[in-house]
C-alpha cells in the first residue's frame, strides 16, 4: 500500500465533518457484514443516496451491496442543515469520503495490532483485511473493539482518483427498484398503526381571517375525531382519509372569511417590484484600471414571473404526540431546521421533538413540506396520542406553498466607439429568495402565521454571497468586463409568499446577462460564441462553450422558422460550468426541438446521475421558459390547478444531449441547478435568431411573443 503525505488542503476537515466530527455519527459497522452510512442530506430524487454509497464503498473497500443508507433524523444524524443549493455531493460527499478514509486507517491500525504485521502489509477487499500468509480479519470482526466515537482528525488522506473503483462510474441508483415496483417508500404511502387523517382549512384569499366556522356539517360526517381551531388555523381529524375530506368540505362550506391582503397587478409586475419599499445592497463593484471612453449606453430590462415548485405530490406529513414529546415524519429538506421552527411555535425544547425524514416527490426547493409538518403537529394535538397524517390538496399546494420570486432586472452597458463594453451595471428588484425554516428568531411555517397567538409572516431574505447569494445569485458576470456595478433591491413587502426555488435568482440573472450579451454581440455583428470566448479567461468556461459549439455544429445554416441560441453560466460562479445550444422552431408558439449541453462538475461521482440531473434541469427550465407563470387576481392565486398552471408535456419535450467533461481530480460539485439559467438564455436567444424578436419578459408564450413583436415594429 502506498502511503501519501497529507496535502495542505487535506489538513482542513470538510465543512460538514467539522460541524459533526464524531465518526460514529456518520459510519457504523454492524455485525451482519453491513456498513451503515448516515448522512445529514436527504434523497429528493437527485440520487444522493447512491452517490454517497459509492463514495463510502470506494473509500472503505467494501462491496456497495453492504452499504445501508440511514434516513436523516434529528435522533442521531449529523446536522448538515438543508439539502439544497446543489451541495449534497460537495458537502456530504466530502464528509463521508474523509470520515471513511480515517476509519479505514483506524481499522488498518487495529488489524495490524491483532495480526502482528505492519499496516503497509495489509490490504482490504470487500471489508476483509488480509496480510501475508493468509492472515485475515474484517471490519465486522474488529467492530466491537474499535470505537468510532471519536472526533475526525484532518490527517487522513482519501484515495487518489485513480485508486477509486466506484466513484466515476454510473452505478444504478439504489432507490429505483422500489420506485418501479411501487414498494412503499414515499411518505405518502406509509401508514402508522392507529393512524388518523387530518385536513386543514385554508381560504383561497391571501391572509384572510376566519370570522366564523359553524361546525354542524362537519360534525355530522362519519368518522370525525376532532375539529381543531386556533385563531385562523382550522382543520379536521378523522378515522379515514375520505372522512377527513368530507368533513373539510363541510367546514369549507360553512366557514366565513374576511377579505385578505391585496395582491399586485400581475400584468404590471416590473413596475410593482420597482415601486415597493426595498433594501438596496451593492453586490459587487469593479473599477477599471484604464477606463475606456464611453460613446453610448444601452439599457435593457428583463423579467421573470413568480414560479411554482409544483411538485407532482401534494405535501404530506405525519405527527404523533406522546405526552409533551412529538415525533414528526416529513419530506422536509432539513430535519434540524424544521425542528428548530417547531420548537419556536410549540414553545418546547428541541429535545422534545424528533423529526425524521421520509422521501417525498421532487420538491425543487422550499415547497410546502415544512408547512404541512406543522399542520400535522397541530392537528395531532387533538388525536389523544394517535398519529395523524396530513396531506395538502393540489389547490393548496399550488397557491399556499412558497413561490420562486418574480424578478425585474435592468442591465446597462457602456460601449466605446468600437462597441466594446467599457462599463456594466446590473440592478435587481425582487423579493428575497429564501424564507426557509430554522434560520431566524421567528418561525417560517405557514400555520404559525394563522394561530391565535400568531407569528408575523417572515419576509424573505437572501442568503449571503458566500453561500452563492439569493436574488443576486449569478449576477456578477464571469466575463472580464473592465468595470461593473451590481446591486440588488430586496423587497420589504411580500404579499405573495416567496422562498427558495431551484437556482434562486440565478435563472433570472443568467437569462438577463446572456440575453443582453447576445444583443450586444448582435449590435457588433459578432458571433455570440466568439463574443463570449473573447471575454472569458477561465479555461473550464471556455471548454464547455467550445465543446457545446462543436457538438451542436455551431452555427448551423439559417433555415426559415428555425433558430439557434447559446447560453452559458457557472452556477453560483463557483459550481458547475454549463453551456447550452438551443434549437427552436415555430412562429406563434415556440417549440424547443433540441438542447445540446456541455457540463463540467469536476469529479462526477456518478456520471449517469449527473447527466440525469442536467437533462431533468434542462427540461424543467424549458417548461419554466415556455409555459410557467403563477397567475393571480387582486385577491387570490388563480393558477391552482394543472390546467391553470400548465407544465411541459411529453409531446413538447426537446431532445436533450449532454456531454460531460470529466475532471476526476477536481472537487465534485452538484449538477441539479446548473442547466436552468443557460437553458433559459439559450432558448430566448434562439427565439431571437428564429424570429428576430427579443422576448425580455418570461415566459415566452404566444402573448409575450406578440407583445415583443409589437415593441420591435
Amino acid at each position: 500500500m502506498t502511503k501519501l503525505a497529507p496535502s495542505p488542503s487535506a489538513r482542513l476537515l470538510p465543512v460538514s465533518l467539522a460541524a459533526n466530527p464524531v465518526l460514529s455519527s456518520w459510519i457504523r459497522f454492524s455485525s451482519e457484514g453491513h456498513v451503515s452510512v448516515s448522512p445529514g442530506k436527504v434523497e429528493i430524487g437527485q440520487g444522493i443516496v447512491t452517490a454517497l454509497s459509492q463514495i463510502a464503498a470506494d473509500e472503505l473497500d467494501v462491496d456497495i451491496g453492504r452499504v445501508q443508507m440511514v434516513r436523516a433524523s434529528t435522533a442521531g444524524s449529523p446536522n448538515e442543515g438543508v439539502t439544497s443549493g446543489s451541495l449534497s455531493v460537495q458537502q456530504s460527499g466530502r464528509a463521508v469520503r474523509q470520515a471513511c478514509a480515517e476509519i479505514r486507517q483506524i481499522f488498518l491500525a487495529a488489524a495490524s495490532d491483532r495480526l502482528g504485521v505492519g499496516i503497509d502489509a495489509l490490504d482490504i477487499k470487500d471489508g476483509t483485511i488480509s496480510g501475508p500468509g493468509n492472515i485475515r480479519t474484517s471490519y465486522w470482526e474488529l467492530a466491537h473493539e474499535v470505537s468510532l466515537d471519536c472526533d475526525a482528525t484532518p490527517g487522513a488522506v482519501p484515495k487518489l482518483s485513480t485508486q477509486r473503483t466506484l466513484a466515476g462510474n454510473s452505478v444504478q441508483r439504489l432507490d429505483i427498484p422500489d420506485k418501479v415496483f411501487a414498494h412503499p417508500r414515499f411518505i405518502h404511502d406509509c401508514a402508522l398503526p392507529a393512524m388518523l387523517h387530518g385536513r386543514v382549512l385554508r381560504s383561497e384569499m391571501s391572509a384572510a381571517k376566519l370570522t366564523g366556522m359553524p361546525e354542524d356539517g362537519a360534525r355530522a360526517v362519519a368518522g370525525l375525531v376532532a375539529i381543531v381551531r386556533d385563531g385562523n388555523f382550522a382543520g379536521v381529524v378523522s378515522e379515514t382519509e375520505d372522512g377527513a375530506e368530507a368533513a373539510l368540505k363541510a367546514l369549507r362550506k360553512s366557514a366565513a372569511w374576511s377579505s385578505g391582503e391585496t395582491l399586485p397587478d400581475e400584468d404590471r409586475l416590473a413596475e410593482w417590484l420597482q415601486a415597493q419599499p426595498s433594501e438596496p445592497t451593492v453586490i459587487d463593484n469593479k473599477t477599471a484600471s484604464e477606463a475606456g471612453e464611453k460613446k453610448r449606453t444601452i439599457r435593457r430590462q428583463y423579467t421573470r414571473p413568480y414560479l411554482a415548485h409544483a411538485s407532482i405530490a401534494p405535501s404530506c406529513a405525519m405527527a404523533q404526540w406522546t405526552g409533551d414529546r412529538i415525533h414528526v415524519w416529513t419530506h422536509s429538506q432539513g430535519v434540524y431546521l424544521l425542528r428548530a421552527d417547531l420548537a419556536l411555535v410549540l414553545k418546547l425544547p428541541v429535545e422534545n421533538i424528533t423529526v425524521e425524514h421520509m422521501e417525498g416527490a421532487g420538491c425543487y426547493g422550499h415547497n410546502a413540506a415544512d408547512d404541512v409538518a406543522l399542520d400535522a403537529v397541530l392537528l395531532a394535538k387533538a388525536a389523544a396520542g394517535r398519529p395523524v397524517r396530513v396531506q395538502w390538496s393540489r389547490e393548496d399546494e399550488m397557491s399556499h406553498a412558497p413561490f420562486g420570486a418574480a424578478m425585474a432586472i435592468e442591465i446597462e452597458a457602456d460601449l466605446d466607439a468600437q462597441d466594446e463594453i467599457v462599463g456594466w451595471r446590473h440592478s435587481i428588484w425582487s423579493n428575497g429568495h429564501a424564507a426557509r425554516p430554522g434560520r431566524a428568531a421567528q418561525p417560517a411555517l405557514l400555520a404559525a402565521t394563522e394561530l391565535a397567538e400568531s407569528f408575523p409572516r417572515t419576509i424573505s431574505t437572501n442568503p449571503p454571497q458566500a453561500n452563492g447569494g439569493g436574488a443576486d445569485r449569478n449576477s456578477v458576470p464571469l466575463y472580464d468586463f473592465p468595470s461593473w456595478q451590481i446591486e440588488s433591491h430586496r423587497l420589504l413587502t411580500m404579499p405573495i409568499r416567496t422562498s427558495a426555488l431551484r437556482t434562486l435568482g440565478a435563472q433570472g440573472n443568467v437569462f438577463a446577462i446572456e440575453s443582453f450579451l447576445d444583443e450586444l454581440a448582435n449590435e457588433r455583428g459578432e458571433d455570440p460564441v466568439d463574443f463570449r470566448l473573447r471575454h472569458l479567461r477561465d479555461s473550464r468556461a471556455q471548454d464547455v462553450i467550445r465543446s457545446v459549439a462543436k457538438r451542436a455544429n455551431w452555427k448551423p445554416d439559417k433555415q426559415t422558422g428555425c433558430g439557434y441560441g447559446i447560453g452559458f453560466a457557472r452556477y453560483k460562479n463557483t459550481g458547475a460550468y454549463c453551456a447550452v445550444v438551443a434549437e427552436v422552431e415555430g412562429a406563434e408558439d415556440i417549440n424547443v426541438k433540441r438542447l445540446t449541453i456541455a457540463v463540467d462538475v469536476g469529479e462526477a461521482i456518478n456520471p449517469d446521475g449527473v447527466i440525469n440531473q442536467i437533462e431533468g434541469g434542462a427540461i424543467q427550465a424549458t417548461s419554466w421558459v415556455l409555459k410557467e407563470r403563477v397567475r393571480f387576481d387582486r385577491q387570490r392565486i388563480t393558477s391552482s390547478t394543472w390546467t391553470a398552471y400548465p407544465i411541459l408535456r411529453f409531446s413538447e419535450v426537446p431532445e436533450v444531449q449532454v456531454e460531460l467533461i470529466q475532471r476526476p481530480d477536481m472537487e465534485p460539485v452538484g449538477a441539479g441547478e446548473a442547466a436552468h439559467g443557460p437553458v433559459t438564455a439559450a432558448i430566448a436567444n434562439a427565439v431571437f435568431d428564429a424570429l428576430g424578436v427579443r422576448v425580455r419578459n418570461l415566459p415566452i408564450t404566444r402573448d409575450r411573443l406578440i407583445a415583443a413583436m409589437e415593441l420591435t415594429t
Binding site: 429528493i44 430524487g45 437527485q46 440520487g47 454510473s170 444504478q172 441508483r173 432507490d175 429505483i176 427498484p177 420506485k179 418501479v180 415496483f181 411501487a182 412503499p184 414515499f186 405518502h188 404511502d189 401508514a191 379515514t240 382519509e241 375520505d242 409544483a310 411538485s311 407532482i312 405530490a313 401534494p314 422521501e359 417525498g360 416527490a361 421532487g362 425543487y364 396531506q391 390538496s393 393540489r394 449517469d608 446521475g609 440525469n612 440531473q613 437533462e615 431533468g616 434541469g617 434542462a618 427540461i619 424543467q620 417548461s623 390547478t641 394543472w642 390546467t643 407544465i647 411541459l648 408535456r649 411529453f650 409531446s651 419535450v653 431532445e655 436533450v656
Partner: protein
C-alpha cells in the same frame, strides 16, 4: 350499500362502499394498495393511472360503480422484482426517473399502450403519455425505456 365486485390484479375482489367514491380512494384506503399515487384528484396529472379493461384511466376520476365486473390492473399487478414486466426492467436499465412519484401512473399508461400497440414509435409513446405529468424532467429517458420494453417484448 351495494357490494361492488371487480377483478383486481387478477384477484376477485368485492368492496362494500359508496359507489360514487373514487376508485383511487378505495384502492389506497380500504384495499391498502398504495402504488397508484394521489397527485391532483382531478384527472390532470396521471399519477394515479390504472388499467381498467385495456385502457389507462385516472383512478381519482373513476367512480367505483363504473368498474363493476371489470378487470383492474394497478402497478402492483404489473410485475414484481422476481417477475418484472419488461417496462419495469427497462425503467431500471434506462434509469428513467428522478423522484419517481409519477412513475406508477406512467408505467400503467405505457403498459396500456403496449397492449394496444406493441410496436409504437417514439411519437406514439409521447402521445400516449401526454396526459401524464413528470416534474423532474425524466421524459426522454421514459420514452427510451418504453421503446426498449417494446423491443424486448417483440424479440421474445
Amino acid at each position: 350499500m351495494p357490494r361492488i365486485r371487480f377483478r383486481l390484479n387478477g384477484v376477485e375482489t368485492d368492496v362494500d362502499a359508496d359507489p360514487d367514491r373514487s376508485l383511487l380512494d378505495i384502492l389506497r384506503g380500504p384495499l391498502r394498495m398504495t402504488g397508484p399515487h394521489f397527485g391532483c384528484g382531478a384527472n390532470e396529472c396521471g399519477a394515479c393511472n390504472v388499467i381498467v379493461g385495456d385502457r389507462a384511466v385516472a383512478a381519482c376520476d373513476t367512480p367505483l360503480w363504473s368498474v363493476a365486473d371489470k378487470d383492474i390492473t394497478t402497478i402492483e399487478g404489473l410485475g414484481t422484482e422476481h417477475e418484472p414486466h419488461p417496462l419495469q426492467r427497462a425503467f431500471i436499465a434506462e434509469q428513467a426517473l428522478q423522484c419517481g412519484y409519477c412513475v406508477p401512473g406512467i408505467l400503467m399508461s405505457a403498459a396500456a399502450l403496449l397492449m394496444r400497440n406493441p410496436k409504437p414509435t417514439g411519437e406514439d409513446v409521447r402521445a400516449s403519455l401526454d396526459r401524464n405529468l413528470c416534474r423532474c424532467g425524466s421524459h426522454n429517458r421514459m420514452v427510451r425505456a418504453v421503446l426498449r420494453a417494446a423491443a424486448e417484448i417483440e424479440a421474445r
